[in-house]
């Protein structure tokens, strides 16, 4: 599954957010992702893709930033 798919699944499952609202420009906080939920999302991401995120990552603000971050880390981990 790609990053946006994972984020959509997660937000649907945990917060009941409809997938069509999870678009690049959407602000994560507006979708109900607070700092705790962000931790949980990152945890899920690490789990699914088998990588470890560094603890000093800049916290993404929008869905788009989150996708970019995830894609970047994922491709790094494979290279």
């Amino acid at each position: 599954m790609d990053s946006i798919g994972l984020i959509r699944d997660f937000l649907k499952d945990r917060l009941g957010v409809e997938p069509e609202n999870v678009v690049s420009g959407a602000v994560l906080a507006d979708l109900g992702v607070d700092s705790l939920m962000m931790l949980e999302l990152m945890f899920e991401f690490e789990d699914r893709f088998g990588i470890k995120l560094s603890s000093d990552l800049k916290t993404p603000r929008t869905v788009g930033e989150m996708v970019t971050l995830m894609d970047g880390l994922y491709s790094q981990s494979k290279s």
């Binding site: 945990r14 917060l15 009941g16 109900g32 705790l36 939920m37 931790l39 949980e40 945890f43």
Partner: protein, 416 residues
């Protein structure tokens, strides 16, 4: 500081029967058991015990997905009960002009978020995982339920949890009562919730040899307090909440007052961890009557702790006979755990609600399945079918915990 009267303006619970709080009381009065049979798929050996489940409770529906997903089941049951009590009190969920800075929560739970930690152990030890969800801590902490309640209802005063085994929510309610009576808090939300179905917890209770046996056929009548053939207690999950309010504040806003809480007394047997002692219970009962300014002769009903263990039931009756003397023979007593089971930290809150409703409805709910009274439990007026027609002026609710902690609450009827 002059003492305030304390009104009970909100009642709410997650009913194992599936209905609302009034329906719950109606079922108790009908002698209907909520005890079912819990059969799990655990390895190496499934749980197969009589148990009271709130199986109709859907946390996503009751609380909404975002809130439910931040909670362990004990907090979900507690929050749902708290919302019902709050709505029942006619209070808005969001502060509407009036400051809530001295409104608080005192919550009882014996086990807290044990299910969250058990899930963690399963993942680590059974699934071979190396790490746990970062939410585990906030799901598992014992004060999770009251913390969520304070956030959801905008309560700026004290927010605390009380863990005193089977007396957890009696002590929570008592401490909440004192804060309103002293004027420290205008409103206190209180009660308790617990989920004893964690595999390790249920197995531990089995090992103590105090749990009644039962299968799919017999579980409904497994809990038989005061009966000569009683076999032990029945665990259950639950959540129950009360809104305690400064009397004048309740009157000023035109709230319905279900009853008045008038006394609270606590003691410790200080003798044995699990063997109860009448002397300690007597002190808690006497302290409560003194605190309430009530004479034994004014008490028309006692909701007993009555768990249906071999040792516990006769000790409680001995304590009641000591305190009530000549009046004991006429003292209406029942153990509603025969129907709603023992939900540990939720039990006293459920029984406080049953006691308040007994006074409000002027109806004593029965002890179910009490066909033959144990000779060791005679000397009080055991109510075995719902009783109406005699005025109920005041009532007590007993809670006696492992550890020897005793807590008794006193309530007065309010003309409806």
């Amino acid at each position: 500081m002059s003492q305030r009267r304390v009104a009970i303006t909100g009642l709410g619970l997650v009913s194992p029967y599936g209905g609302n709080t009034d329906d719950f009381f109606t079922r108790l009065c009908a002698g209907q058991s909520a005890v079912g049979h819990l059969l799990t798929d655990d390895v190496p050996r499934p749980l197969s015990i009589p148990f009271v489940s709130c199986s109709g409770f859907d946390p996503d529906v009751a609380l909404g997905k975002p809130l439910a997903s931040m909670m362990d089941r004990f907090a979900q049951l507690g929050m749902a009960a708290a919302f019902e009590a709050w709505d029942n009190a006619g209070l808005a969920r969001q502060a509407d002009g009036e400051s809530r800075d001295d409104w608080g929560v005192a919550w009882g739970t014996a086990l807290g978020g044990t299910l969250a930690y058990e899930k963690g152990y399963r993942e680590l030890w059974q699934q071979g995982r190396e790490r746990l969800s970062p939410l585990t801590v906030i799901l598992g902490m014992n004060n999770a339920a009251n913390a969520h309640m304070s956030i959801q209802l905008g309560l700026g005063g004290v927010s605390m949890s009380h863990t005193v085994a089977c007396a957890s929510s009696a002590i929570a309610i008592g401490e909440a009562f004192r804060r309103v009576r002293s004027g420290e808090a205008t409103i206190m939300l209180t009660g308790g919730s617990d989920v004893p179905q964690a595999y390790g917890v249920a197995r531990a209770w089995e090992a103590l040899r105090v749990m009644a046996p039962g299968d799919a056929e017999t579980s409904a009548v497994a809990c038989r307090p005061f009966s000569v053939d009683r076999r032990g207690l029945v665990l259950g999950e639950g959540g129950a909440a009360l809104v305690l309010e400064d009397w004048e504040h309740a009157i000023a806003r035109g709230a319905r007052i279900h009853g008045e809480i008038v006394g609270y007394g606590t003691s410790c047997d200080h003798s044995h961890l699990v063997r109860p002692e009448a002397a300690g219970q007597v002190r808690a009962l006497q302290l409560t009557l003194a605190d309430a300014g009530l004479n034994p002769g004014e008490i028309d009903y006692v909701n007993a702790h009555g768990t249906a263990t071999t040792e516990g039931d006769p000790v409680e009756i001995t304590a009641l006979k000591t305190v009530f003397g000549n009046h004991a023979e006429r003292l209406a007593v029942s153990a509603t755990k025969s129907m709603h089971g023992h939900s540990l930290g939720a039990a006293a809150a459920i029984e406080a609600i049953a006691t308040v409703l007994a006074l409000r409805e002027q109806t004593v709910p029965p002890t179910a399945h009490l066909a033959q009274l144990d000779p060791a439990c005679t000397g009080v007026d055991h109510v075995t079918t719902a009783r109406t027609g005699q005025p109920l002026r005041a009532a007590l609710s007993n809670s006696f915990a492992f550890g020897g902690s005793n807590a008794v609450l006193a309530f007065r009827a309010v003309v409806q």
